[in-house]
């Protein structure tokens, strides 16, 4: 039996469940309470669990992310919502210099079981300061675990696994996904945060995507399918550490790969995936790994330019065909 639900509601249910299951869990961030959550994920939860556990913070990203880290050190299990990745730039010191280093610097004494969630991505005409996709930055940092639920099922179940994790987990939610609907598989439960998932099997080419680009990859795969090219689509799910094994096993079968990344191309995740595939499948590759990324430009406001800046299905199809020499 399956059920249709929005990504937003799946996250909402995950939050409620977490708050119910463990008194140590609290949700904190800007406008998580009265406003109803910027993306309505936490709507109503403050009424159910009180303002101490669903806690509005002032505009002070470094302060409240750091407070979340401290609260985790102090025995709580905070879920810190940073409205969007764009504002997380203000909290990077806390995330990189504190959360990611504490376990190591303290010789293993202090782990930081915090979950930091943030919306990411472009596509809603929010212009240059509100449209970043900086997953790549976070995925660069040892000590952080970085996940990106792309499906409603992952939105529903990843949070619990992230809270279970003793290390800091950064969770990226593509803003375009909140309103998306999908089927929630009945057998849901803890998600293995270390594993990518093959969302569509195929034998001709491997397409790697995550978060906001997964649906584009799947759409491209359908289109390729009608041209007789069977693409395997991998949803990375965990951006750090990367599940090389799943990717490499796939490419060993398909001998070709394309990465779809909404981040800027240079020094992004697409580069790492390309490099890892090439390192591990060099003698099996029939073409260089293709990269379909955002244009290297601050995202412009007008829709036609914004859409032109973002990776799109035709570009994925074209890159796949190029790799197939077609």
């Amino acid at each position: 039996m399956t059920d249709t639900i929005t990504y937003r509601d799946a996250l909402h249910d995950a939050h409620r469940e977490a708050l119910e299951a463990d008194d140590r869990v609290l949700v904190m961030g800007e406008d998580v309470a009265d406003y109803g959550g910027t993306y309505a994920v936490t709507k109503g939860l403050h009424e159910e669990f009180g303002r101490a556990r669903v806690r509005n913070t002032p505009l002070s990203e470094s302060g409240f992310v750091g407070a979340g880290i401290g609260a985790a050190l102090g025995g709580l299990r905070p879920i810190v919502e940073v409205m969007t990745v764009n504002f997380s730039l203000l909290a990077l010191d806390q995330i990189v210099n504190t959360a990611a280093t504490y376990l190591h610097m303290s010789g293993g004494q202090f782990n930081v079981p915090v979950v930091i969630r943030m919306a990411t991505g472009a596509g809603r005409q929010l212009a240059a300061q509100h449209s970043h996709s900086l997953e790549a930055w976070y995925a660069h940092v040892p000590g952080l675990r970085v996940v990106a639920p792309a499906t409603v099922t992952d939105a529903r179940w990843m949070l619990a696994s992230a809270l279970d994790d003793p290390d800091p987990v950064i969770m990226f939610e593509h803003a375009a996904l909140y309103a998306s609907k999908g089927e929630l598989s009945d057998g849901g439960g803890p998600v293995d945060l270390d594993r990518a998932a093959i969302r569509r099997p195929g034998s001709d080419i491997t397409i790697c995507a995550w978060g906001g680009t997964l649906s584009k990859a799947l759409e491209a795969a359908e289109e390729l399918g009608s041209d007789g090219i069977e693409a395997e689509v991998i949803d990375l799910r965990t951006l750090r550490p990367l599940d090389d094994a799943t990717i490499v096993q796939s490419v060993m079968r398909t001998n070709r790969a394309v990465v779809v990344d909404e981040g800027w191309r240079s020094v992004g995740l697409s580069a790492e995936i390309s490099a890892r595939i090439t390192e591990q499948c060099f003698y099996h590759l029939d073409a260089p790994v293709g990269r379909v990324c955002s244009a290297e430009v601050p995202i412009p406001y007008p829709s036609h330019l914004e859409q032109a800046a973002l990776p799109q299905v035709p570009a994925v199809v074209a890159a796949a065909k190029a790799a197939m020499n077609r």
Binding site: E30, D31, A33, D34, Y35, G36, T38, N56, P58, L59, S60, E61, S62, G63, N86, F87, L90, R124, Q125, L126, A127, A128, Q129, H130, R265, G290, R291, V292, C293, S294, A295, E296, V297, P298, P300, Y301, P302, S303, H304, L305, Q307, A308, A309, L310, P311, Q312, P314, A315, A318, A319, A322
Partner: protein
């Protein structure tokens, strides 16, 4: 309590500017419903006395640095309504060439430095502009606008301290509308007397009724006199209220209808209209002319925006660098995500 009225030319101009802003923003809301304007749209309806009162007192070569809620500031600073409207449409003729939209109005000719959408992020900029003016020129000032919510940000703190240490010619204007999205002042600031909070940076700081355009204008004059006299930065809190939701996405769940209605009774345009009529500065016909003029101006602005052109997609990657690198291979077209 209420400040005495200045000369007629001034009062009518102030009222007219508030009306222009109001008409423009109401038009924007309609255009948003029609999906002509997209992205985030933050209206300052109810807060017109602040932008008008402050910006109208600036000299043409004074600078303005503002937030995403800056349509009024841009208009009063002198940017053509048509170019503002075209920007909201995302057209090439917009004041930011269409790249910025509602949150990022810019104009070099009028020294209008945005339209910044990172809360608090533009305060350091204002300090830097002041530093430059100080070192290069010596008489220009910069007015920097921000909401009360921004005062919790570290960048507010750092900027205030720098400005006060360096005595930059900066007028910090806090548009205290009591809410930062859905977060009330009480849950965002441990010290809700914002002038007291600001005074801790060792600079002159005071509050003014942000629903009274004359009071705001007078406070601005006083501040600018001090600033131009070398007195360093000044902090001004203008107590105001936004009648509409935070943005077009905001369901406005966090405050009561009652509260909104109570504030609407203090509508800066309505109250100032009454006052001017009472003082004999203007009559009903004059008022109607102001509104009609504003409507006509905005009709023209919308027509201009409608007739504007879309940037060709080929120009997508322009204006990333002013200097184009002499080498380095751009990514092949097919991989750049072109549609």
């Amino acid at each position: 309590m209420t400040a005495a009225l200045p000369a007629i030319e001034t009062t009518v101009r102030l009222l007219g500017d508030m009306i222009r802003i109001r008409v423009m923003e109401e038009r924007c809301a309609e255009l948003y419903q029609q999906t002509k304007i997209r992205g985030f749209l933050h209206l300052a309806i109810g807060e017109e006395a602040v932008s008008t009162g402050v910006v109208s007192r600036l000299q043409p070569d004074d600078a303005v640095v503002a937030t995403y809620r800056e349509h009024g500031h841009a208009l009063v600073k002198g940017i053509d309504a048509a170019r503002i409207m075209a920007e909201m449409y995302g057209k090439v003729e917009g004041c930011s060439g269409g790249r910025g939209g509602s949150m990022h109005l810019f104009d070099a000719d009028h020294r209008f430095y945005g339209g910044n959408a990172i809360v608090g992020g533009h305060l350091p900029l204002a300090v830097g502009l002041g530093l430059a003016d100080d070192m290069l020129d010596g008489h220009r000032a910069t007015a920097c606008f921000f909401g009360e919510g921004a005062m919790a940000e570290g960048e507010f703190h750092e900027a205030m301290n720098l400005a006060a240490l360096w005595d930059t010619p900066t007028l910090f204007v806090c548009e205290n509308n009591l809410y930062a999205m859905g977060t009330s002042l009480e849950s965002s600031e441990s010290e809700t007397n914002l002038a007291v909070k600001a005074a801790a940076y060792n600079l002159p700081a005071w509050s003014v009724d942000g629903m009274d355009v004359v009071a705001v204008a007078e406070a601005t004059d006083r501040a600018l006199t001090s600033i131009r006299g070398g007195g360093g930065p000044v902090f001004l809190e203008a107590k105001t209220y936004r009648f509409r939701a935070h943005s077009m996405f905001d369901p406005d769940l966090y405050r009561s209808k009652d509260e909104i209605e109570r504030w609407k009774e203090r509508d800066p345009i309505v109250t100032f209209t009454d006052r001017l009529i009472e003082a004999g500065h203007i009559d009903a016909e004059g008022i109607e002319q102001l509104w009609a003029g504003a409507r006509a101006e905005m009709d023209d602005a919308v027509a201009f925006a409608e007739a504007g052109t879309w940037e060709p997609v080929e120009r997508l990657t322009t204006n990333v660098y002013r200097r184009t690198p002499s080498s380095g291979h751009p990514a092949p077209e097919t991989e750049r995500g072109q549609v």
